[in-house]
């Protein structure tokens, strides 16, 4: 009589993930300077705004890297030692009221 044997078999699942940054992100570099006469207020002394437009950039364009480069330049022009604060604001493509602050 033939003997049946279980054959080891099964399946193996795997998952790979890749984040694709939005090409519609708008980065706004904000440079703030504390007003010594009003220490609780932060006034925007200057700001630079640039919009990532896919029509003007190739597929390898990295908007965040560009924003950080712009920020570096801004820090040189407006030194922290002189009381300036710098941040990158990430604006949502949904609209100007939807935004978040991003650590840089």
């Amino acid at each position: 009589m033939a003997e049946s044997k279980a054959v080891e078999q099964g399946s193996a699942a795997s998952l790979e993930t890749d984040v694709i940054p939005s090409r519609d992100r708008t980065f706004r570099i904000v440079i703030a300077h504390k007003d010594e006469d009003h220490p609780n207020a932060t006034e925007f002394a200057w700001r630079r705004v640039f919009v990532v437009n896919p029509d003007f950039h190739g597929p390898e364009y990295d908007p965040l890297a560009d924003a950080k480069s712009q920020l570096k330049q801004a820090r040189e022009e407006y030194p922290t030692a002189e009381g300036y604060e710098h941040r990158i604001q990430v604006l949502a493509p949904a609209g100007p009221d939807s935004h978040e602050w991003q650590e840089v």
Binding site: S11, L15, V19, A94, S98, E100
Partner: protein, 131 residues
Amino acid sequence: MPFGAATVSTNSLKRTLADRLQTTTTRNPPKFVAMGVGATGAARTAAAADTALSTEVETRTSGTESTVTTTVTGDTYQTVGTITATAARVVDEAMTNDASSAGNIGISATFAVINLAIGDSLQLTFKEQLT
């Protein structure tokens, strides 16, 4: 069970695979891709008994299907889908499913948090190798 990273073939997927070998099938292919944000909060690790994500977000996408080779020719079912975040998302779970809503789970996965900003997309490549 605490949260942990795992990618598993669910019991539901095994049933689907067996069903799909029939001349007349009763289950649809698990080509839809979904992502969620609730595994860490639910202290959940993907398991064979899973039937859904803890907190699914965004609309499922119909993945691009193919068979690819892992060990022997064409031994792996693959579905690739890209989902765009309509809000900032802290993604920590994903699955394949056989329908655009509800339906039957295929592969279940939990993983370390992936932060998506609004407008960012997550491309998910699921593979199921038959061994």
